[in-house]
Subunit: 80 residues, 2 copies
């Protein structure tokens, strides 16, 4: 199974890197972009055919290592 | 409109950070994870209601700034 964990800053947390990207896009002449927020994505291969077990492994990985749940949200998608 | 740009390393490019995460997950006792690759995600707000224009702005941002197309692939999703 494949699992994808997407980690994004909580909406209340400032994202200076996103702000820098906004400024850079303006300088580069990319129009109409009013806000940018950056996150991380982790694509995992998980052994076995059990969707539920794969989601559990991905959740354990996110909670223990991939996300700082004080300032970040994560979501998990599992696919065959 | 919202656009999401997901940037991932090309499959042929080594991902030492992903390898480090694999090792750390093993040490932490998260089972069955055989491979991890890390990428970046950019969530953008784009002015206007034109889906095509939003996709074009996101593509320009990815090509000019967000992705290094020598070693990275990107994909774009636009939503209302």
């Amino acid at each position: 199974m494949k699992a994808r964990v997407t980690v994004t800053l909580k909406p209340s947390v400032l994202d200076p890197q996103g702000k820098a990207i906004e400024g850079a896009l303006r300088s580069l002449g990319v129009p109409h972009v009013t806000s940018v927020r950056q996150g991380k994505i982790f694509e995992m291969e998980i052994e076995g055919d059990d969707r539920v077990a794969a989601a559990e492994a991905a959740k354990a990985a996110a909670d223990k290592l991939l996300a700082n749940t004080v300032i970040e949200n994560y979501r998990i998608e599992v696919s065959g």
